[in-house]
C-alpha cells in the first residue's frame, strides 16, 4: 500500500525539522503512544497501544531515521512487532519546504502488515494504516497550531 498527504505547519522550517526529531513531540503525535525513547542518534524505540475497532494490540516499534538531508527531507523506517497480532514494516518519506513563516510538510507512506491481523482483517489494513499516518501528521500540525511544541 502507498499513500501520501500534506500538512501546512505553523512554524519555520528549521523548527519543524528539529521537532520531528524530538521524541517528546513524536510521542504526542502518535496515537496511543505509551513511550518513545531515543536509543541512538538516529533511532527511536516506541511502545504503542493501538485501538482499531475491536482490535486492541500493544506494539513495539523501532524507528530508524534515514536519508537525512537536513532541513529538507528524510525517511522514517518503522519496524513494528505486535506479538500475536502480527508485524508491520513501513517507510515514510518526509519533505519540508519553507513557505516563509510556515512550512509545507509532504509525506509518502509505504508499508505492509503481516501476521494474524492481516490474515483476518485484510479489508481494514489500508484504511487503518492510512488513518494512523494521516493522524500522525495532522496531530503534528495541530501541536503547532495550538502552540504546544
Amino acid at each position: 500500500m502507498e499513500q501520501s498527504g500534506e500538512q501546512l505547519i505553523q512554524a519555520i522550517q528549521l523548527d519543524v525539522w528539529n521537532a520531528l526529531h524530538d521524541p517528546e513531540v513524536l510521542k504526542k503525535c502518535l496515537d496511543g503512544c505509551l513511550s518513545m525513547e531515543r536509543v541512538s542518534d538516529h533511532q527511536f524505540q516506541a511502545v504503542v497501544s493501538a485501538k482499531i475497532g475491536p482490535v486492541r494490540a500493544k506494539f513495539n516499534a523501532l524507528i530508524h531515521v534515514e536519508n537525512l538531508a537536513p532541513p529538507d527531507s528524510y525517511t522514517l523506517v518503522v519496524d513494528v512487532k505486535g506479538g500475536v497480532a502480527g508485524f508491520g514494516k513501513g517507510t515514510a518519506d518526509i519533505s519540508l519546504s519553507s513557505m516563509g513563516d510556515t512550512t509545507n510538510l509532504t509525506y509518502t507512506v509505504k508499508g505492509h502488515v503481516g501476521g494474524r491481523l492481516a490474515q483476518i482483517g485484510s479489508r481494514l489494513i489500508v484504511s487503518a494504516s492510512r488513518k494512523m499516518a494521516d493522524s500522525f501528521f495532522a496531530n503534528f500540525a495541530k501541536l503547532w497550531a495550538e502552540n504546544q511544541v
Binding site: 506479538g83 500475536v84 502480527g86 508485524f87 514494516k89 505492509h112 502488515v113 503481516g114 501476521g115 494474524r116 492481516a118 490474515q119 483476518i120 482483517g121 485484510s122 479489508r123
Partner: protein, 783 residues
Amino acid sequence: MTTETGIGASVKRKEDARFITGKGRYTDDINLVNQTYLVFARSPYAHAKINGIDLEPAKATPGVVAVFTGKDLAADEIGDLPCGWMVKSKDGSDMISPSHPPIAIDKVNYVGEPYALVIADTPDAARNGAEAIEANFEVLEAVLSTADATSGPQIHENAPNNRSYDWELGDKDATDTAFDNAAHITKLDIVNNRLIPNAIETRAALGDFDSSTGNYTLYTTSQNPHVERLILAAFVNVAPEARLRVISPDVGGGFGSKIFVYAEETAVIWAAGKLGRPVKWRAERTESFLGDAHGRDHVTHAELAIDDDGKFTGLRVSTKANMGAYLSTFASSVPTYLYGTLLAGQYTTPNIYVEVQAVFTNTCSVDAYRGAGRPEATFVVERLVETAARELNMDPAELRRKNFIPPDAFPYETPVALTYDTGNYGISLDKALDLADVAGFESRRSDSESRGKKRGLGYSCYIEACGLAPSQVAISLGAGVGLFESAEIRVDVTGSVTAITGSHSHGQGHETTFAQLISDRFGIPFESVDVVHGDTGRSDYGLGTYGSRSIAVGGSALMSAADKIIAKGKKIAAHMLNSNEDNVDFADGRFTAADTNESLAFGEVAFSAYVPGNFPLEELEPGLSEKAFYDPANFTYPAGAHICEVEIDPDTGVTEIAQFVAVDDFGNVINPMIVEGQVHGGLAQGIGQALLEHGIYDADSGNLITGSYLDYAMPRADHLPDFTVDTTVTPCTHNPLGVKGCGEAGAIGSTAAVMNAVTDALGVIDMPMPATPETVWKVARGA
C-alpha cells in the same frame, strides 16, 4: 438381483443415521485420559532465517508441559516429509526435492510454517506458551509470483532458479510442424487461480503411545491412513510400521487436502511418544488456510492449431506450476501425469506437446485438490476450443462434435500417453444441449438484453482419468507406491458380512455403496453388510480415497474378494449337497447343485463353514473369509458435457448462474443418488473457482490475505443454482463393475463452462479468474 438395495438403486445412506443425530465421531470428538494439547508457533514471515529461538518464556508459562523445536525432532532422527512421486526433467535429470523438515530448523519458507511446538495441559495454556516464544528472524526477500518465480531470489540451496523440474510430454517437432501448417491458430494466456480446499472439518490429530507395549496410535483426519502410516514409519521415522496404528474415524471432507502427510500429525505422534501422554492438535481455520496444501495455481500459454476444415491439428501448452515452498506428498504428479496426459481431451488432436516447469515460491505447498491436474487440463483445452469456435465463427458445439473421438475409434490411443478404453462423447453433448434448451437461448438472451443484462452460454466437454493405474505403469512413471486396492470379506457364522476396504470414505458414502455391491453379489440383505474402513489395525493395507478411485479400484477389489468367497462357498455347498463344485451355481443368494437342483442359502453355507461337523478337512479349510488385491488394467475415463448459462449485471459486475447442466458418463452407476450428490459438490467447487474463490498472497509481505472466511469467498447456498444433472452410460471395459468414478467430474468440467459463459456474455476472449464483480465490471466497460 435387482432389489431396492441392489446395484443401481438409490439406497438411502447407512452412515446418515449417525451424522443426522450428531453421533458422528470425528477426530476432535475423541479424547483420551491425561490428554495434552499442542499448539504450533508459526512463521509470520514468508522467507526468513531463524537466528535463534528463545523458548524460556514459553516453558515458564503456566500449564505448559513441553516446548520443542525442529532441532528436537532432528535429534530423534525424525526425517523429512517426502514427496512420493519422482518426475524427471526434459534432460533426464531427477526433479529437485528440497529438504522438508516437519518443523523448520534454520529457515522458514512460507507464512504459517511451524517452527516450534508447545504442549500444555489445556488449549489456552498451549496458546499462551506459543505466543511467548520469541524467535529471532532475519527476514529475506520472498518469491511470491508463479510467473516470475524462476527469476526471484533462490529459496532452496539445491534448487537454482527455484525450479524443481522442467518436464515435457509429446512430440515437439511434429506439433511445431502442425502449427507451421495450420489454417488458424488460437492462443490464450491462462492463469488458473490458487484455491484453498476448505473441508469444513479442519485437520486434527490425536497421538497416543502405550509404553507397556511400545505401540503408537494416531487418530487423524486422513483420506488414506495406510499411506500415512507407511510414510510416517518408513520415511519420517516416527515409529516402526508394525507398532503404528493409524485410525481415520469419520472425516469431515477432504477434497485432496487430507491425502498428504503433514508436519502436524508427525509432531503429534512424535510428541506423544516423547511425553508418554496423549497429544491432541486441532487446526484453527486460519491454520488450515495457511497450511493445508492448496490447489491449482498455474500460469499457462496455450495454442491450438486448426486446419481449413475446423479439425484440430496441434496443441502446444507451456505451463508454470507453483509448487509452493516444498514438494508436498504427491505434488509433483499433479501438473505432469495428471495434467499433461489429459490434454487430448475428447478430441482427435493428433499432435500435442506440453512442457511444465514446476517452481518454488514462498507460499504454502500446492498439491492435489479435487480433480488435481485434470481441471487445469480441461480448463486449457475447453477455453481454447470455445475461443477457437468464436474466432472461426462456428457453433462451439459443432466444432467440438467435428473433433470428438468417434465411438468406433475406441480403444483410442492419445498422443499424450493414455489409451481411452471407451466413450461416446456425442450422446452426452446431445443430451446436455437438449436439457439446457440451447435452442431457446437466443430468445433468453434478448430477454436479458431488454432488462439491461448480458447473457452468455458456455460449454465444457471434459475427460478425466480416474482410478490411477496400473501399478506397473505408475511406478515406471515415478510413483512411490502401488496403486492397487485391497479388500477383505469376512462372512460371519450367521451369514452376515464384514467388508473391509482400503478405500476411505470422508463423505462419499462407501458404507452404503459397498454394502450394495456385497448385498447384491451375495443375495443377502443390505442390512447384513457392515463396511469397515479407515483403520490400519483392521485392514491389511490400502491406498485410500482420492482421484475418484474408490468404486473403480476399491469396489473391484471387493468384487474379487467376493468371487473368492463364492468359489469357496461352492466347494462347501458341493460337499453339503453331495455334488461336485463344478456343478454348483450361485445365484440370488443360493448355491444350487445343477444335477439335483437342491440348494442352500448363503447363510447356511456360511454356518457350515464355521461349524464344520463333517468337513473333509484335508481338502477344505473351515471358515469363510477372503482377501483380494485388485490392480486395475488401465485408468477409467469418465467424460461429460457441461453447459452453463449466466446472466451478468454489467452495472455491478454480478454474475448469476442462470442454469447449469451436467451430463456425465460414469459407466455403470451403483447408487445414482450418491453419484448425483458427488456431481453437485464438484460443480459447486468448480463454479466457486470460476466466480468466487481465490487464495491471495500479499505481494509485499508474502502474507496470506485470504486467511479467513472474511476474505476467502466460500460458495454459499445463495451463490449457487439448482443443478440439472443426468448421465449417459458406456461401461468401463476393464473392471468387473464397468464403473468409472464420479467424485471429481463436477470440479473438472464446470470451471471452463462458467468462464466460457462469462466471456460469451461479455463478448471477450480474455477474462481473469475468478470473475469477481469488479473484474467483470472492468471487463464489461472495456477497462
